[in-house]
């Protein structure tokens, strides 16, 4: 039983171990984060000044498209799956994931999907240039030939996500330690369980919509082509029926991570555990009935505008419950500000700002002004960067000592935090202003009046990018060496993962642990 990992490359190719697969997911995501980051810096370099300087407009459009696709499907989603692989079995006292072989398969198809997607950059006609939302007919009638590779890459990513989600649900439902009822599960497990259900419902819809594109392009159907009786607006409905739950797929696990970290460093149990669970479920449910708020300007009837506006605003209620609970957890706590806590507090503050701009966008009549401007870009980067990326970063700092047995460099971690925090705000806050002043998204050149805000944004973007290089260095240095971590790592953290030694042995919980809940 107590055998270690195999040697050599086959350890990684054939592994069914949740920790190995989790590490591979995280490294893959890290690589994609840098790739997507380079694309973002090309965008920001071009936008540093008005006029066309560095890249031609078509390549600029390829950069915005690839940046979005790589960050969403390559960086954020695999990072959460990686954290789920590492932490869910350890948090529920299971020896491994329920379907270890499928786990290997769902990881290993991902590099192929992204190799295929990235290869389109070198193809004749260039990479997809129609934006990450790939609206028809831009992505059908007017698409470069490489769109077919994009479609198959999305199919593979979808298959990977669905398999990952099935595995996570099967693990959580069947493999919890005796005594761990659903309402005693750690919140990271809860949020991932709900996320996995969202994935199972909407990733097939994404696969469906790209399949329809494939048929329209190659097999003469007219799903989205008005000339043959189709309707391009149908594309937007189907895409956003996937797309809106998708944005919660990228944030719910983040809620779970900060709900683990804040109690540890506030030295108080999480405030309002059950309301957190219900709020997560409520957000997931509402995510299915708000999709058309992305489409206020397509000509919805007044009743539709009102319904989608109110339903969207309703989401602020469970989200507000969550923010309240995090703040209440910190209230009168004996707080310390280690790196994971800094990222988590920044998460709470900045995600709330992103939520507020989301509420502004939800107001249908106001959205007619904001639609497709940099205000939207500011909004979704405020929820995704300090939301998804900061929580993943916080989770990595929080659990890294458990994974590799060494403490990371705290000073460097804090410097990373402050550079990232300042860089992020300098990059994205001015976009609110340029957006409200009317600067449209996805353009390589712009009116002189937006020049100052754009120059500030570009400076911030390079600062943010540099901070991430420091993160990479810190992670590698921690894995290679550093102060040994204790089993608990932090002061009385809650959860089964802290009852195993650091680094966590290759096999943990071969025997189900005794589980005692504190709440």
């Amino acid at each position: 039983m107590a055998h270690g990992p195999a040697k050599g490359i086959t350890r990684w190719l054939y592994t069914t171990n949740h920790k190995d697969i989790g590490s591979m997911y995280l490294w893959f995501s890290f690589a994609m984060f840098f790739l997507g980051g380079i694309f973002a810096l090309v965008i920001r370099a071009e936008l540093f000044q008005p006029g066309l300087q560095i890249v031609d407009p078509n390549f600029f459009n390829q950069m915005t498209t690839m940046h979005g696709l790589v960050m969403v499907f390559g960086a954020v989603m695999p990072a959460f799956v990686g954290l789920a692989n590492w932490m869910i079995p350890m948090q529920i006292g299971a020896p491994d994931m329920a379907l270890p072989r499928m786990n290997n398969w769902s990881f290993w198809i991902l590099p192929f999907a992204f190799a295929m997607l990235s290869s389109t950059l070198f193809m004749e006609g260039g990479a997809p240039n129609f934006g990450w939302t790939f609206y028809a007919p831009l992505s059908t009638t007017y698409a470069p030939p490489s769109v077919t590779f994009f479609i198959f890459a999305v199919h593979i990513m979808g298959a990977s996500s669905i398999m990952g989600a099935i595995n996570i649900i099967a693990t959580i439902v069947n493999m919890r330690a005796p005594g761990m009822t659903y309402m005693k599960m750690p919140l990271f497990v809860w949020t991932w369980l709900i996320t996995a259900f969202l994935l199972i419902a909407v990733m097939p819809v994404l696969a469906g919509v790209v399949t329809m594109m494939l048929m329209d392009i190659h097999f003469g159907t007219s799903f989205f082509d008005a000339a043959g009786g189709g309707d391009p607006v149908l594309f937007q409905h189907i895409f956003w029926f996937f797309g809106h739950p998708e944005v919660y797929i990228m944030i719910l696990p983040a809620f779970g991570i900060v709900s683990a970290i804040i109690p540890t460093f506030a030295r108080k149990p999480l405030f309002g555990y059950s309301s957190m669970v219900y709020a997560t479920a409520a957000i997931a449910f509402l995510s299915f009935v708000v999709w058309a708020h992305h489409m206020f300007t397509v000509g919805l009837p007044i009743a539709g505008e009102l319904f989608f506006m109110w339903a969207t605003m309703l989401i602020a209620v469970p989200t507000g419950v969550k923010v309240f609970n995090w703040v209440a957890t910190m209230f009168k706590g004996a707080m310390t500000f280690e790196t994971p806590m800094l990222f988590s507090i920044a998460f709470v503050i900045l995600f709330t700002i992103g939520g507020f701009s989301g509420l502004m966008l939800a107001i249908a009549p106001a959205d007619f002004q904001y639609h497709d401007t940099y205000f939207v870009v500011a909004h979704f980067h405020y929820v995704l960067v300090p939301g998804a990326i900061f929580s993943i970063t916080a989770g990595v700092y929080y659990w890294l000592p458990k994974w590799c047995g060494n403490m990371y460099n705290e000073t460097m971690g804090k410097v990373h935090f402050w550079l990232a925090f300042i860089g992020l705000n300098v990059t994205f806050f001015p976009m609110h202003f340029s957006g409200l002043a009317g600067m449209p998204r996805r353009i390589p050149d712009y009116n002189m009046m937006f020049a100052d805000w754009n120059m500030i944004s570009s400076v911030g973007a390079f600062l943010f990018g540099a901070a991430q290089v420091m993160f990479l260095y810190n992670v590698i240095a921690t894995i290679v060496g550093g102060k040994k971590a204790t089993a608990e790592v932090w002061e009385n953290p809650e959860g089964l993962e802290w009852t195993v030694p650091s680094p966590a042995p290759y096999h943990t919980f071969s025997e189900p642990p005794e589980f005692k809940s504190s709440h």
Binding site: I166, I169, A170, P204, V205, A207, G208, G228, V233
Partner: protein, 191 residues
Amino acid sequence: MKVLPEDPVKRLSVKLAITSFGFLLFALFVMPPLYVAFCEITGLNGKTGDKYEAVDAVVDTSREIKVQFVATNNEGMPWQFGPEVKTLIVHPGEQTRINYLAKNPTGNDMIGQAIPSLIPYKAASYFHKTECFCFNQQALLAGEEAVLPMFFIIDQDLPEHIKSITLSYTIFDVTDRFSREELLSMVDTGQ
């Protein structure tokens, strides 16, 4: 029925896989027809209905509705295409004819398809077409021109507040979708 495996993990996984496959089928085969049906009922995307069988009805001369006709060429469509008159004043219940004129100025035989769209959307289900060139594709040989008639009746039940209707046709080049024989047969039948 003992189709699902005994083992709880496998059992659940198979159920989840079936569910996800169900959502794929839902996206491919339910969402598009559902959308079309929804738009037909509500008239939301401005699409007008199929051929309408005229019923004997009283012409409501107390109301005058201004109908404006608009024509657009889809990108890359070289035909000259437009309505004979831009505006007509009609009474609800009255059958009216409007001609569109199309000319293929190119040296190639081509097929066009006109797609209607109507605003206000609320009027879409009250705008009946008894004959329309848009029900079929139009084939025009190189240099040929044609008069494309459309007969319509505005329903007497058109809501009171609607005083004017704009009907737009966009003409698409669909030559690639048909074979040469199909093109010639369209010309023969005068479609």
